[in-house]
C-alpha cells in the first residue's frame, strides 16, 4: 500500500513536470532564437550563433518604435485603469449601495466576453461615431478591458484586510484622512501595485482588441503580427527574452518582499488579539 502511494505521488509529479516542460519549451526557444542568425528572413530555424541581435536590438528601427509606443500606451492605460478600478473596488468592499449586482455584472462581463467581440464592437462604435482610430482609441480600449482585472485584484486585497486596524487608528484620534493615508493606503498598496502590473502586462501584450482599434498605429504585438507575414527580424526574440527576464525579476523581488510583509502582517493582528481569526 505504501509503495503504491509512493508511486502514485511520483506519477502525478512526473506528469506535472512534463507539462511544465511543454509550457516552458517555447520560452527556451525564444531565448535561443535571440542568439540566432537566421539563414533567411522567412526562416524560423536555428542556423548559427551570434550576439549581433543583442548588440543591436534596434537594427530594425520600426520595431523599437513599436516597443516604445506599446510602453506609452501601457503606462497611460495602467494609470487610468488602476485609478478607476481602485475607486470601484473601494466602493464595492467598503460601502453599501443600491445596484450592487448590476455593477458586479458590469465588471464581470468584460472578463467573460471574447476579446474578438470587444474589439469588433468598439470598432463599430468608433466608425459609427466618426472617431479616427489611432493611439488614443487603443488607450481607450485598453483601459476598458483592464479596469475589471484591477477591480478584482484590489478587491481581493481590501476584503482580506483587518478593519480593526483602522478602527484602532480612529480610536487613537486619527482623522479619517490620516487613517486613510497612514493605515488603509499602505495596507492596500501591494494590491494596487499588483493590479497595475497586471494591467500593464495585459495592455502591453494585447493583440486582438488592439488590432481592431489601432488604425495605422503599430504596437509591438501588431508589429510582430505584420512581420510574421513579411519575415521576422531576430531582434523580436531579443525583446521577448528581455520582457521575460524583467517580469521574472519583478516577481522574484516582490515575492521576497511579500514573504517579509506577510510574516509581519500575520504577526501583528495575532499578537494584538491573542488568537488567529477563524477562516471565514
Amino acid at each position: 500500500m505504501k509503495l503504491r502511494r509512493w508511486l502514485a505521488d511520483r506519477w502525478v509529479m512526473g506528469v506535472a513536470l512534463l507539462v511544465l516542460g511543454y509550457l516552458s519549451l517555447p520560452i527556451l526557444v525564444v531565448a535561443g532564437l535571440s542568439f540566432n542568425r537566421p539563414s533567411s528572413r522567412l526562416s524560423y530555424d536555428f542556423n548559427e550563433f551570434t550576439l549581433d541581435n543583442w548588440a543591436q536590438p534596434c537594427a530594425t528601427s520600426d520595431m523599437c518604435d513599436a516597443v516604445v509606443r506599446s510602453m506609452e500606451i501601457g503606462l497611460i492605460a495602467t494609470v487610468v485603469s488602476t485609478i478607476l478600478g481602485t475607486l470601484m473596488a473601494f466602493a464595492l468592499v467598503r460601502h453599501g449601495f443600491r445596484g450592487r449586482s448590476g455593477i458586479n455584472g458590469l465588471i464581470f462581463l468584460p472578463m467573460a466576453t471574447p476579446e474578438l467581440v470587444m474589439g469588433t464592437s468598439l470598432l463599430a462604435l468608433f466608425v459609427a461615431a466618426g472617431v479616427p482610430q489611432g493611439f488614443w482609441t487603443i488607450v481607450i480600449a485598453h483601459v476598458m478591458f483592464c479596469v475589471s482585472f484591477v477591480v478584482v485584484t484590489v478587491k481581493a486585497r481590501l476584503a482580506g484586510m483587518d478593519r480593526r486596524l483602522e478602527e484602532a487608528a480612529m480610536d487613537l484620534y486619527a482623522s479619517e484622512w490620516q487613517t486613510f493615508r497612514r493605515i488603509t493606503l499602505p495596507l492596500v498598496l501591494p494590491g494596487i501595485v499588483a493590479a497595475a502590473l497586471l494591467a500593464f502586462s495585459l495592455s502591453f501584450d494585447d493583440f486582438i482588441i488592439t488590432n481592431f482599434n489601432a488604425g495605422t498605429t503599430v504596437t509591438f504585438p501588431m508589429y510582430v503580427w505584420g512581420a510574421a507575414q513579411r519575415g521576422i527580424p531576430p531582434q523580436v526574440n531579443v525583446i521577448g527574452t528581455a520582457m521575460f527576464a524583467i517580469a521574472l525579476l519583478l516577481v522574484g523581488a516582490s515575492s521576497l518582499r511579500g514573504r517579509r510583509a506577510r510574516r509581519a502582517a500575520l504577526a501583528a493582528p495575532v499578537a494584538a488579539v491573542g488568537a488567529p481569526k477563524s477562516a471565514s
Partner: protein, 302 residues
C-alpha cells in the same frame, strides 16, 4: 466574507466620527461613477452598436454609409457562408480543452498537494509563459514544429510521420498552440480549488477501502468542481475566439471564425457580416456557458 465587510457601520458598533451622512451616502456612487461610466460607454454601448451594425443593409459600404434596414438575413447569409469555420472554432477549442484537462489537472493537483515547499516556484513556472509576448511565444512553435526541426525529424525516423509528413500548417499545430496558450488559465483556478482539498479526506476514503480511482471520482473531483468549472470557462472562451494560432500555425484550411471576422472588418470591410458573425460567436459561447453551468451545477449537487 466581503458581505460582512461592507455592512454600514451602524449595528452594534459606535459610529466613527465622520462627515455628515449625506456625503457618506453619495460617496460610493462617486467612487463608482468614473469606472462604471467608462465601461458603459466603451463596453456596453459598443455591443449595442455591434448589434445595430449586424442588421445594416449589406449593400452599403464604409464610404457611402450603411442604411439601417433590420436585415436579419445577414445572420443567415454569414452562417451559410462560414459555417465550416464556425464549427471548426468549437471543435478545435473542444479538443484543446480535453488535452488541457488531461495535462492541467495532474499539474494543478501536483502543485497543490505534492509540491511542498516548491509550490510557489512551480506556480511561477505555470504563469511564466505569460511574462513574454503571446505572439512571440506562438511563433516559437513555428521553430519547434518546423519541417527541418528535431521533432519532425524524430517523428519521421520512427515512422509516426511519413517521409514528407509535416506538423506545421496542420490542424494538429493549431490545436497544440491553443492548448499551450490557454493552459495556464485552466490550471490556476484548478490549483486554487485543489489547494483547499484536505488530504485526510483521501486517507479516509482509502481507509474505507476505496480504490484510488474511486477516491478520485468521489472525493477529489467533486471537491475541485468550482475550480474545474472556472478553469474550463477561462480556457474555452478565449480559445474559441482566438485566431492567432490558426493564422500563425495553420493555413486557410484551419481558419477559425476569428480569422473570418478579422478579414470581414479589416480586409473586406463588410461590417454587417463581421458584426453578425461576432454576435453569433458571442451568442453561441454564452449558450454553451449557460448550458454547461446548469449541467455542472446539478452534477455538483448530486
Amino acid at each position: 466574507m466581503s458581505a460582512l465587510a461592507h455592512v454600514p457601520a451602524s449595528a452594534g458598533q459606535p459610529a466613527p466620527p465622520g462627515p455628515p451622512r449625506g456625503r457618506n451616502r453619495l460617496l460610493p456612487y462617486l467612487l463608482l461613477l468614473p469606472g462604471a461610466a467608462w465601461l458603459l460607454v466603451f463596453f456596453v454601448l459598443p455591443l449595442l452598436q455591434l448589434a445595430a451594425a449586424s442588421l445594416y443593409d449589406p449593400s452599403g459600404s464604409l464610404a457611402t454609409g450603411y442604411a439601417m434596414t433590420g436585415e436579419v438575413g445577414n445572420y443567415w447569409d454569414a452562417l451559410s457562408a462560414y459555417w465550416p469555420q464556425f464549427a471548426r472554432s468549437f471543435v478545435y477549442s473542444a479538443i484543446a480543452l480535453v488535452l488541457a484537462l488531461l495535462m492541467g489537472y495532474p499539474l494543478a493537483y501536483a502543485i497543490a498537494q505534492k509540491a511542498g515547499r516548491w509550490k510557489n516556484l512551480l506556480l511561477v513556472a505555470v504563469v511564466a509563459p505569460m511574462f513574454t509576448s503571446f505572439l512571440v511565444r506562438t511563433l516559437a512553435w513555428k521553430t519547434i514544429l518546423s519541417d527541418n526541426g528535431a521533432l519532425v525529424g524524430l517523428l519521421r525516423d520512427v515512422h509516426l510521420l511519413g517521409a514528407d509528413g509535416r506538423l506545421l500548417a496542420t490542424p494538429f499545430a493549431v490545436v497544440l498552440g491553443l492548448t499551450y496558450n490557454f493552459l495556464p488559465f485552466l490550471v490556476l483556478p484548478l490549483y486554487a480549488s485543489l489547494e483547499r482539498l484536505d488530504p485526510r479526506l483521501l486517507e479516509a476514503a482509502s481507509d474505507l477501502y476505496a480504490s484510488p480511482l474511486r477516491a478520485f471520482r468521489r472525493v477529489t473531483l467533486p471537491l475541485s468542481m468550482p475550480g474545474l468549472i472556472a478553469g474550463t470557462l477561462l480556457f474555452f472562451i478565449p480559445a474559441t475566439g482566438d485566431y492567432i494560432n490558426a493564422e500563425l500555425l495553420g493555413t486557410p484550411n484551419e481558419y477559425m471564425i476569428g480569422n473570418v471576422i478579422d478579414s470581414a472588418f479589416l480586409v473586406r470591410l463588410d461590417y454587417p457580416q463581421g458584426a453578425a458573425l461576432s454576435f453569433l460567436l458571442m451568442a453561441a459561447i454564452l449558450a454553451i456557458v449557460f448550458v454547461y453551468l446548469r449541467k455542472a451545477g446539478t452534477e455538483e449537487v448530486l
